[in-house]
Every structure is written in structure tokens, then in C-alpha cells.
């Protein structure tokens, strides 16, 4: 592609044709402020609505100011990014946005993380001269996972782009016009009645407090303060490689031991690990894979293949509402969060000699959909949920800070036994490709009866949205598919519907780009997708550091089967660790 030369603020810059002024400016170290713009190229999300007009610049010979984010460069263009006219326009635009934005920043859920707040500070806005009609009429929409507070919406449309273009869920769209314009569901139904999967990626990209998680921090504090309750906590794999960011650590820092110490100081009676339940998931899921494969190889053509992983609740919501005809192919294994809750309130409660009602199970998840999953009726016994409360990585950071603790000051500690015992296979659940790699490690050894020479399946790793790899197991070639991000999942599912031309046997699907490390409950990445890669690297590092790296070799898991569950997929395992799916008709 031919290059184009232009000058920005007097500096010459040469860039390929098609580059925007914003990108060209960045190349020479000029950071034009943006608000609605969000470029997450690696996950194919570019929000280029040019709706906020914060990034306007002056182009010589052009009467109007132009948005830098959406204006392509032209040969010989002379751009000013900081003239009086530009700065004046930028401030005015900002004041106009603020004139219709609530000023309750002190108590806003995005306080300290708000891009509008940051921008007001950068632009030095100290008063809003524009007064007039202000929109404060939308009813808050409460769901078990996400709360929509549309009074705070600035119509940047990032959530809409994420929901429609990246995730292909289609729950959100801009509706109405002018002052009444807002992002909403079809017919403005509550989020829970919409096709929303609760993945929380809209929350992850919302620059303001319009979209936020349902905050369960105080409910956890109350549970911890109740002397009659035994409070058990489980932490998902992706939390330990991201929590540190909230305390000033570099992205990708592993804070497992410090997190455990913090949880113990917070007063949890038992600090356990979702990684244990991930190992348990592998026992069931790998058994299911083997069972289906063996039936398939012996000539049974009715076997539902490929088998799909079922760890991700947003993904389960997606298939239940959008691909009901495929509901016989996912593994029936519950997610690790739910397996943990189920085992904690049966096996472990019995061990402690307490009724399940006396136990409170709290989960710390990188995810918002886990909140909704925990509330599903299938995961309750006589109205008592297996997992009582789920909090996100961000909420755990708040909880730790409210208890006057600083992760940096804490000495590392170990998880409690037995439900805190886990392997490297459990850890890698936290990133895309991890679940299927963990399952392959176990399935390989079970099928061949031989120990793996190389535990790392590099061909299953990476950040490409859809990956396909073949793993030879003796003379059988296991074809594996991996998709992360629901748009990629949709593409793979459509391929299955079209007759599975690549003959895939097993598929891992994660709703969030990057897998759980990029979950909707993780510390905000603010558009820096490099953070996800660092978290993924940390996950694999944590795996390598584990003395045991295959789920079936976890001694606590072996003990659980020997003393309580019996065989994988056996009667008791089936009752406690498996679930069913049903079509969910949503708007």
C-alpha cells in the first residue's frame, strides 16, 4: 500500500494509506484524547462511531473540525491537534456531554476507573457553563450479573459494538433519537429477558458507570460476620494473574499466595480453589470425551460429536438461546464453579458434620456471568444454592481494600486441603485453550495407558480467535477446535451445523476474548489488550510451576472419588456433577 506524508502539529509523518489521523499522531507521540473510540484490533473490535467528537482536530483548508479517530490521512495534509480553536471545541464538547451526565462521581461504581472523569481532568474542566434539559429518566435495569444505569450513558456505542460485532449476541442497540436516544434491549425488556448472555464484555468496555456489575461485596461482608455460618471461598484460575493489577503490580504478576493470605485475613473459614473443581471437571469431561469417542470408533453413528466444553456460563446461555438444536452436544459436566459448590455442600459439609444450610459458598470469579449461573434453579437444593454469592476480581480487590489490607504487605500462604489442592491442568482453565489442553492431557493417558512425554500442547495455545489442531493419540487423530469470543463461537457452531467438514471431535468455547483472563469481571484493561497476553503467559507459568500437572493425578481428587463419588460418570458423580440444558426463548 502506498504511503502518505502529512504534518501534524508541524511534525512530518509518513504512514500507510488508510491510516487515521489519530493513529498517525500516535506514531509521533501525540496522544489526541478520545472517548467513544476503542480499538481492540486483536479481538477484531473497532468502535469508530465518531459520536463523541472529543478527538476533533483542525485540518488546513477545511472549514470544519474533523474527528481524528475516523478521518483518514491525505497526502500533504496539515493537521493541528492543539490549536486554540481545537481546544475550545474540545472543552465545549466535553461540557455538553457533562451537561447531561449525572455528577455523582463520588459514589459511582466506575469512580476512579471512569474515562469521562479522566478526560474532564485532562481537559481541565472546572465548570459546566451549559445548563438545560438533563436526562435522568431511565429506570435502572437490575439483573443477577449486570446493572444498567442508562442515565450515565454517553452514547459512545462501545457496548453495542461489542455485543453485536464481537460477541454477535445482539442484545443491545441504540434506540430512539435526539435527547431520548439510549442503548437498550429490544422493546426495552429487562436484560434478563433479552438474549444477553451475561458475559459482561459490555461492562468491560463501557467508559462510564452506565454498565456495571451487580456488586455483592457487602453481602459477602455480612456472611463473614455471621457467627452461625461456615464461610468457604473458591477462587477461579484467572483471578490470581489479574488481582495484582488492582494493587499496582505489573499485569501478569502472579499473586496466588498473597490472595490466599488476604482471604484468610478477611475471615473465610476455608480458603479453597476453583482449580480443584477444574481438575474434577476434567475427570468428568475427559471421561465423557472418551466414552463418546469409543462409541464413535466402534461404529455408533448416533454419538453426539463434537463434544463441546461447558465451563463457561455465558457460552451456555448463548447456545441455549441461539442454537437450541445443538443442545445435545455440549458436555453435561457442570462448570468448575458449580462443581465446587456442589461438592463443598455435600462431601465437605458432611466431612465437617454440618448441614448444607450452615455453609456459605462464595466464589471469586473473573466473570459476571458466574453471578447469573449461581442463581440458576438447577444449581439449588431445596432452594439453597450450591454457590451463594459470586464476586468478581474487581470486587475482591474492593473487599481487600475495605478491610485495610494491602496485597503488597501480605506474606504468601497456601490454600487449605482438600478442596484447595490442584494441578497445573486446573490452572490453565483460565485462558483460551486451557480446558481442552487439560482434558487432552488426561484423555491421552487414559486412552493409551502411557505417560505423556510432553505435557505442554503448544498447538492448542495462542490468541487466534478460532484455532484447530490435531493431536495424535496412537493411531487415532483427535481433531480439536477452540473458539474464544462468542462471535468466533458462532462461526464454529455454524460450521458444525453445516456438517462438521473438519471432522472436529472436541471443541472448547469461551465467551470472552482471551478466555477467562479477559472476563467481564477482571480489572479494566482500558483498551490495552496486551494485558491479556501477559495474564495468559502468567497462567502458563503457574502451570509449569505446579508439581503435578495432570488432573487425574491430583491426590485430593483421587481421594474424593475413592471415598465418596465412586467412578467418574458414575451414579453419584452424575447426580452431583452433571446438569442438563434447555432451550431458553429470549428477546
Amino acid at each position: 500500500m502506498p504511503n502518505i506524508t502529512l504534518t501534524i502539529d508541524g511534525k512530518r509523518v509518513e504512514v500507510p494509506k488508510g491510516t487515521t489521523i489519530l493513529e498517525a499522531a500516535k506514531k509521533i507521540g501525540l496522544f489526541i484524547p478520545t472517548l467513544c473510540h476503542l480499538d481492540l484490533h486483536d479481538i477484531k473490535m473497532v468502535n469508530q462511531t465518531a459520536s463523541c467528537r472529543i478527538c476533533v482536530v483542525e485540518i488546513e483548508g477545511n472549514r470544519r473540525l474533523m474527528p481524528a479517530c475516523a478521518t483518514p490521512v491525505q497526502e500533504g495534509m496539515k493537521v493541528r491537534t492543539n490549536s486554540v480553536r481545537v481546544l475550545n471545541a474540545r472543552k465545549t464538547v466535553m461540557e455538553l456531554i457533562l451537561s447531561d451526565h449525572p455528577k455523582d462521581c463520588l459514589i459511582c461504581s466506575k469512580s476512579g476507573e471512569c474515562e469521562l472523569q479522566d478526560l474532564a481532568e485532562i481537559l481541565g474542566i472546572r465548570e459546566v457553563r451549559i445548563t438545560g434539559r438533563s436526562q435522568s429518566v431511565y429506570k435502572k435495569d437490575y439483573s443477577p450479573s449486570i446493572i444498567r444505569n442508562m442515565d450515565k450513558c454517553i452514547m459512545c456505542r462501545r457496548c453495542e459494538t461489542m455485543c453485536n460485532d464481537v460477541q454477535t449476541v445482539g442484545a443491545l442497540s441504540g434506540i430512539n433519537r435526539g435527547f431520548d436516544a439510549v442503548v437498550a434491549t429490544a422493546f426495552e425488556v429487562p436484560l434478563e429477558e433479552s438474549v444477553c448472555t451475561h458475559c459482561g464484555q459490555c461492562v468491560a468496555v463501557c467508559p462510564v458507570g452506565a454498565l456495571a456489575e451487580k456488586d455483592n461485596v457487602w453481602a459477602v461482608v455480612e456472611a463473614l460476620a455471621d457467627p452461625d455460618k461456615v464461610v468457604v471461598v473458591q477462587t477461579a484460575p484467572a483471578v490470581r494473574v489479574a488481582l495484582g493489577e488492582e494493587f499496582g503490580y505489573e499485569p501478569g504478576t502472579i499473586v496466588t499466595g498473597k490472595m490466599v493470605a488476604a482471604l484468610r485475613r478477611l475471615g473465610f473459614d476455608y480458603v479453597f480453589d476453583t482449580d480443584f473443581a477444574a481438575d474434577l471437571t476434567i475427570m468428568e469431561e475427559a471421561s465423557e470425551v472418551l466414552d463418546r469417542l469409543q462409541r464413535y470408533l466402534s461404529g455408533d453413528t448416533t454419538v453426539p460429536l463434537p463434544i463441546l466444553t461447558s465451563c463457561c456460563p455465558a457460552w451456555v446461555n448463548f447456545i441455549e438461546s441461539q442454537f437450541p438444536e445443538l443442545l445435545d452436544i455440549p458436555s453435561s459436566a457442570k462448570s468448575p464453579q458449580q462443581m465446587f459448590g456442589s461438592i463443598a455442600k455435600s462431601y465437605y459439609a458432611e466431612k465437617l458434620g454440618i448441614p448444607r444450610e450452615k455453609m456459605v459458598v462464595i466464589s471469586v470469579m473473573p466473570c459476571l456471568a458466574k453471578k447469573q449461573e449461581a442463581s440458576r434453579e438447577e444449581f439449588q437444593v431445596d432452594g439453597n444454592p450450591d454457590v451463594d454469592l459470586s464476586i468478581s476480581t474487581r470486587e475482591l480487590a474492593h473487599l481487600i481494600k475495605q478491610a485495610n489490607l494491602d496485597l503488597r504487605e501480605l506474606q504468601e500462604e497456601e490454600f487449605d486441603y482438600p478442596l484447595g489442592m490442584s494441578t497445573g491442568a486446573g490452572v490453565i482453565f483460565g485462558t483460551t485453550g486451557g480446558v481442552i489442553e487439560a482434558a487432552t492431557r488426561t484423555a491421552y493417558e487414559w486412552l493409551t495407558g502411557r505417560e505423556l512425554e510432553t505435557i505442554d500442547f503448544e498447538q492448542l495455545r495462542g490468541m487466534d480467535g478460532i484455532r484447530v489442531a490435531t493431536v495424535p493419540i496412537d493411531d487415532f487423530e483427535l481433531n480439536i477446535g477452540i473458539a474464544h469470543g462468542l462471535g468466533n463461537a458462532r462461526a464454529l457452531l455454524e460450521e458444525i451445523e453445516a456438517g462438521n467438514p473438519r471432522n472436529l471431535h472436541a471443541i472448547e468455547i469461551m465467551a470472552c476474548p482471551g478466555g477467562c483472563i479477559g472476563g467481564g469481571g477482571q480489572p479494566y484493561h482500558h483498551g490495552n489488550i496486551e494485558i491479556l497476553k501477559k495474564r495468559a503467559a502468567a497462567i502458563y507459568k503457574e502451570d509449569r510451576n505446579k508439581p503435578i500437572r495432570k488432573s487425574h493425578e491430583n491426590p485430593a481428587i483421587q481421594e474424593l472419588y475413592e471415598t465418596y463419588l465412586g467412578k467418574p460418570m458414575g451414579e453419584k458423580a452424575h447426580a452431583l456433577l452433571h446438569t442438563t440444558y434447555s432451550e431458553k426463548q429470549k428477546v
Binding site: N164, V169, G170, A171, L172, S173, G174, I175, N176, R177, A184, T185, A186, F187, V189, E193, S194, V195, Q585, K586, V587
Partner: protein, 162 residues
């Protein structure tokens, strides 16, 4: 669809008419507005069920369809009366007193904008510029255009349709 949404089933013959229109389109891409126009012509308005049907046929999210329907004042989710009255609130009509005319219609019919009289005879709508600014303020009843309307003329206009 959840119970709150499906309140009625669609008339199969009208549905077929709409499907035929969709089927003869060269491509489904970018045709949403054309299809909505046709659907409103066939059904008289665009209830949820029609929007859901269109979303399915055009393979776009229902939220997007609703987004477009709620954006353009031409599209209506309420059934219109036998004689839909549209008052132009475009700039030219507005400055020449369209609001007073609208208020008079509201008073006479006891209706708010977007509503239909209980007998189904009249519905009241406001729209943006019909392209007859020289006649401002403009009122349309069905296809008939009235120019230079004053509040005093409202009663007489209504009488024509009683």
C-alpha cells in the same frame, strides 16, 4: 419468546405477503428500512411480533430492528386510526405555530401524540418536515394535505371525517 413479548400471532396471509416481498429482494443486507416500510403498509403498524419476524428473516438482531423503528417517527408500534392525523413539527412549520395547532388537536380529540381514539377513528402523530414548507404549518390527514393551518381550522378539518 418470553410471554411478555408474544401477545398475539400474526395474520398468516399478511405474513405471506411480507415474506414474498422479502424473498424478491436481491439481497437481505441493507434492506431493513425498505422491509419495515412494506411491513407497516401491510400490517398498518409494527407490533413486536412483526419486528421479531423481520429480524429472523433478515438475520439481524431484534434490538437493531427496534432501534430503527424507534428512531424514525414514521414507524409506529401502535395501530393507527382510520384517519391518521400528522402534524408537521419541522422547523418551518414549528416557527409558524405548528405547536398551537397540535395542542388544539390534542384538546379536541383528547389524545396525546402517538395515541388513537377509543373508536379507532383518529390517531395523532407528529412528524418532521413533509417537504411542503411553503404551506407551513402543514397537517396531513391520511394522504390529504392541509396548508397554513390555524388552531381555528382544527374543528372544521375534523368535521370532514365525522
Amino acid at each position: 419468546m418470553s410471554s411478555s413479548v408474544v401477545s398475539q400471532t400474526l395474520d398468516p396471509s399478511k405474513c405471506k405477503q411480507l415474506d414474498q416481498f422479502i424473498d424478491q429482494l436481491p439481497s437481505k443486507k441493507g434492506e431493513l428500512i425498505a422491509v419495515l416500510h412494506k411491513a407497516q403498509e401491510i400490517f398498518g403498524y409494527l407490533p413486536k411480533e412483526v419486528q421479531q419476524h423481520i429480524a429472523k428473516r433478515l438475520e439481524v438482531p431484534v434490538a437493531k430492528v427496534y432501534g430503527v423503528v424507534s428512531f424514525y417517527s414514521f414507524f409506529s408500534m401502535e395501530p393507527k386510526g382510520e384517519h391518521p392525523i400528522s402534524i408537521c413539527m419541522g422547523t418551518a412549520c414549528y416557527v409558524r405555530g405548528a405547536e398551537k395547532v397540535l395542542n388544539e388537536f390534542k384538546k379536541e380529540l383528547n389524545l396525546e401524540v402517538g395515541e388513537t381514539t377509543p373508536d379507532g377513528k383518529f390517531s395523532l402523530l407528529s412528524l418532521r418536515c413533509v417537504g411542503a414548507c411553503g404551506l407551513a404549518p402543514v397537517v396531513m390527514v391520511g394522504e390529504k394535505v392541509y396548508g397554513r393551518v390555524t388552531p381555528e381550522m382544527v374543528k372544521d378539518i375534523l368535521k370532514e371525517y365525522q
